[in-house]
C-alpha cells in the first residue's frame, strides 16, 4: 500500500477521534424545535424575527461534528426547511446554510472551537456572512434588483444571535457524546 494513503488514513483517524456525535433524537428534534420556535416566537412579538435559531443550530452541529460533509448536509437540510416555510424560493437559505455549515465544520477541525470567545466570534462572523450570502443570492443569482438589506439591522442581528447562541451552545453541549 502506498505511503500517502496510509498517511491520509492516519490523519482521518485522528480527526474522527475529535468528532462528537449526537443521538438520533437530538439530531432530529433539536433542529425541528429550532424551526418551530423560529416560526412561533415572532407571533408573540415581531422583534423575535431578528433571531435565526436554525443558523445557530447549524453552527453548533457543524462545529461540534467537525466534518464538512455532515456540516454541509445539516446546513442544507435546515436551510431548505426554512425556505419551505417562508416566501423565499426554495434554495436561498439552503445554499447559504450549506456554505455556512461547510465553512464552520472546516474551521472546527482546525481551531479550538470549545472556547466561548471563539464560538462567539464564529457566530458573529457567520451570521454576517449569511446576510451577505443571502443578499448575493437574491440580487445576483435571482436578479431581484428590488431586494435590499438594511446592513445596520444585519449587524444588530449578528450581535443578538451571538448573545442568544452562547447559552444555547452551553445547554446543547450536554447532549453530545464523545466518539
Amino acid at each position: 500500500m502506498p505511503h500517502y494513503i496510509m498517511a491520509t488514513r492516519s490523519y482521518m483517524s485522528r480527526r474522527e477521534a475529535e468528532q462528537q456525535n449526537f443521538s438520533l433524537p437530538v439530531a432530529l428534534f433539536v433542529p425541528l424545535a429550532a424551526l418551530l420556535l423560529q416560526i412561533l416566537l415572532p407571533r408573540l412579538s415581531p422583534r423575535f424575527a431578528i433571531l435565526d435559531l436554525p443558523l445557530i443550530i447549524t453552527l453548533f452541529f457543524a462545529i461540534s461534528r467537525r466534518a464538512p460533509i455532515a456540516g454541509t448536509l445539516t446546513g442544507a437540510t435546515i436551510g431548505l426547511l426554512q425556505d419551505a416555510l417562508s416566501s423565499t424560493p426554495i434554495g436561498v437559505n439552503g445554499m447559504a446554510k450549506s456554505l455556512i455549515g461547510y465553512a464552520a465544520a472546516s474551521l472546527g477541525s482546525r481551531i479550538d472551537v470549545d472556547n466561548t470567545a471563539t464560538r462567539a466570534l464564529l457566530t458573529f462572523g457567520f451570521t454576517l456572512l449569511q446576510s451577505v450570502l443571502i443578499y448575493l443570492i437574491e440580487r445576483r443569482l435571482l436578479g431581484l434588483t428590488g431586494f435590499h438589506m438594511l446592513w445596520l439591522h444585519e449587524l444588530l442581528r449578528a450581535v443578538v444571535n451571538t448573545a442568544v447562541a452562547l447559552p444555547i451552545y452551553l445547554s446543547l453541549n450536554r447532549t453530545r457524546k464523545q466518539l
Binding site: 464538512p68 436561498v92 438594511l150
Partner: protein
C-alpha cells in the same frame, strides 16, 4: 479516484450548491399560473415541511390560546349578557346604516350599469385562525388552519374587518400559507381614496408596504386613505388597505416617490382572518334585503315630504317635536314623523302666519303684524311662507 477522495468535501459542497442552484433556476424560470399550485417538487417540499410543522403549530397555538383566553372565556363572564344585547343592538343599527349607504350607492350602480361596468361583491368567506408565521423578517408569510379541504384556493384574498391582510400563496389539505401585503414579493392594486390615483402597493425589505410607481404629486398628503382598486383580480374593489404615512423621493428610482402606507391591519398581530372564497355580480341576499328596506324607507320619506299635512289630523303629530314616533311593528322599518317648527316665543313679522296674504296688502301701505292664528306655527314653512314683496320692509314703501 484519488482526486475524488482528496477533495470529496469540496466536491460534495459543490454538488449540493449546484443542485440547489438548479432548483432555484427552475423556480425562477417557470412562470407560475395563478390558477395552479407551485411546480410539483417545490410544492411537495413545502407540503411535507408544513405537514410536519403544522401539528406542532396547532398545538402551540391551542396552548397559547387557552392560556390567553381561558380567563376571559370561562371565568370572567360578568356582563356578557348585557354586552351581547348591546352588540345585537349595535348590529341592528349598523345594518340600517349600511342599508342607507347602499341606498346612496344605488345611483352609482345605475351609472355603472349604464357603462356596462362589471361590479363584483363578496359572496362567501371562510374564517380561519393564524397558527404560524415564516419566522423571518425578510419573509412575511402567515400559516392559517384551513386548507383545500375547507375550500380555500390559491390567490384568494385574505382580509379582516379592518382591511386586507394578503392573499393565499400555497394551499395544503389542512393548512394554507398567506403572503402578507408587506412581503417583498407581494403586490396589490390600490387607489388613493381622495385623489383617486391608481397605484401598485408592494412590500419592502424592511417589512413596510410602499407605493413606488408614482411621481411626485403635491395632492397626495399623509393621512390619505388607500383602498383596493380591484384591478389585480385578487382583492375586491374598495377594501381598506391603510393610510399614507410618509412621502419622500425614492433614492433608488428617480423620479418616483416612495409613499409608505401604514396598513389598516396590524399585520404582526393578526389572529383571525377571513378568506374570500367567492365573488358574485349581485349583492348577497341579506344585503339585498337591507337595500330593499332602505329603499322602502327612502320612498316613505319622500312621500312624507311631499305630503306635509299628512299627520295634521293626527293628535300625536299635532304635538310637534315633542311627540314620540310610534313604535314600529316587529320586522318593519319605522317611518319617522315630519318635524314641525317649535312655536315662537315673541311674534314678529317673520313669524309664520303673522303677515297677511299678498291679496290683502295695499301697495305702499305699512305692514301691520297680525296675531298668528292658533296652530299657525304648526304649518310647514314652505306652505305659508310670506311673499318677498310683503316681507321685505323696503318693498312696502
Amino acid at each position: 479516484m484519488d482526486f475524488l477522495l482528496r477533495f470529496r468535501n469540496a466536491l460534495f459542497l459543490i454538488a449540493v450548491l449546484l443542485a440547489q442552484a438548479l432548483a432555484l433556476a427552475v423556480q425562477v424560470r417557470t412562470p407560475r399560473d395563478p390558477a395552479k399550485q407551485a411546480s410539483g417538487s417545490v410544492r411537495l417540499i413545502r407540503m411535507w415541511t408544513t405537514g410536519v410543522i403544522a401539528p406542532f403549530e396547532r398545538g402551540a397555538h391551542a396552548i397559547g390560546w387557552g392560556l390567553r383566553h381561558g380567563w376571559s372565556n370561562y371565568i370572567d363572564l360578568r356582563h356578557v349578557r348585557q354586552q351581547n344585547a348591546d352588540l345585537q343592538q349595535q348590529i341592528t343599527r349598523m345594518r340600517l346604516q349600511e342599508a342607507a349607504i347602499s341606498e346612496d350607492a344605488l345611483e352609482g350602480r345605475r351609472l355603472q350599469v349604464l357603462l356596462a361596468f362589471k361590479e363584483k361583491y363578496v359572496a362567501s368567506t371562510i374564517a380561519a385562525q393564524v397558527i404560524g408565521s415564516s419566522g423571518s423578517d425578510l419573509s412575511h408569510v402567515l400559516t392559517i388552519d384551513k386548507g383545500s379541504r375547507s375550500g380555500i384556493k390559491v390567490d384568494e384574498a385574505v382580509i379582516t374587518p379592518d382591511g386586507i391582510v394578503g392573499k393565499v400563496r400555497d394551499v395544503f389539505p389542512d393548512t394554507a400559507e398567506v403572503l402578507e401585503i408587506n412581503d417583498q414579493t407581494s403586490g396589490a392594486g390600490v387607489v388613493l381614496a381622495n385623489t383617486r390615483i391608481r397605484a401598485i402597493l408592494r412590500g419592502t425589505a424592511a417589512g413596510r408596504a410602499q407605493i413606488g410607481n408614482l411621481t411626485a404629486d403635491s395632492r397626495i398628503k399623509p393621512g390619505e386613505p388607500v383602498v383596493t382598486s380591484g384591478g389585480d383580480q385578487v382583492y375586491p374593489r374598495g377594501l381598506p388597505v391603510g393610510t399614507v404615512e410618509s412621502i419622500a423621493p425614492d433614492p433608488d428610482r428617480q423620479p418616483y416617490t416612495a409613499i409608505v402606507v401604514r396598513p389598516a391591519v396590524d399585520l404582526n398581530r393578526v389572529e383571525e382572518v377571513l378568506v374570500i372564497t367567492g365573488m358574485q355580480p349581485e349583492l348577497p341576499a341579506d344585503a339585498q334585503q337591507d337595500l330593499a328596506a332602505a329603499q322602502a324607507q327612502h320612498a316613505a320619506d319622500i312621500s312624507a315630504e311631499r305630503l306635509p299635512g299628512l299627520h295634521d289630523n293626527d293628535p300625536q303629530a299635532a304635538n310637534g317635536a315633542n311627540a314620540a314616533p310610534p313604535a314600529a311593528a316587529p320586522g318593519t322599518v319605522p317611518v319617522l314623523a315630519i318635524p314641525h317648527p317649535t312655536p315662537s316665543l315673541h311674534t314678529d313679522r317673520y313669524t309664520i302666519g303673522a303677515t297677511p296674504p299678498a291679496s290683502q296688502l295695499t301697495p305702499g301701505a305699512p305692514v301691520v303684524p297680525q296675531t298668528p292664528p292658533a296652530g299657525a306655527e304648526q304649518q310647514p314653512a314652505h306652505k305659508s311662507r310670506p311673499s318677498k314683496d310683503s316681507a321685505h320692509p323696503d318693498a312696502t314703501q
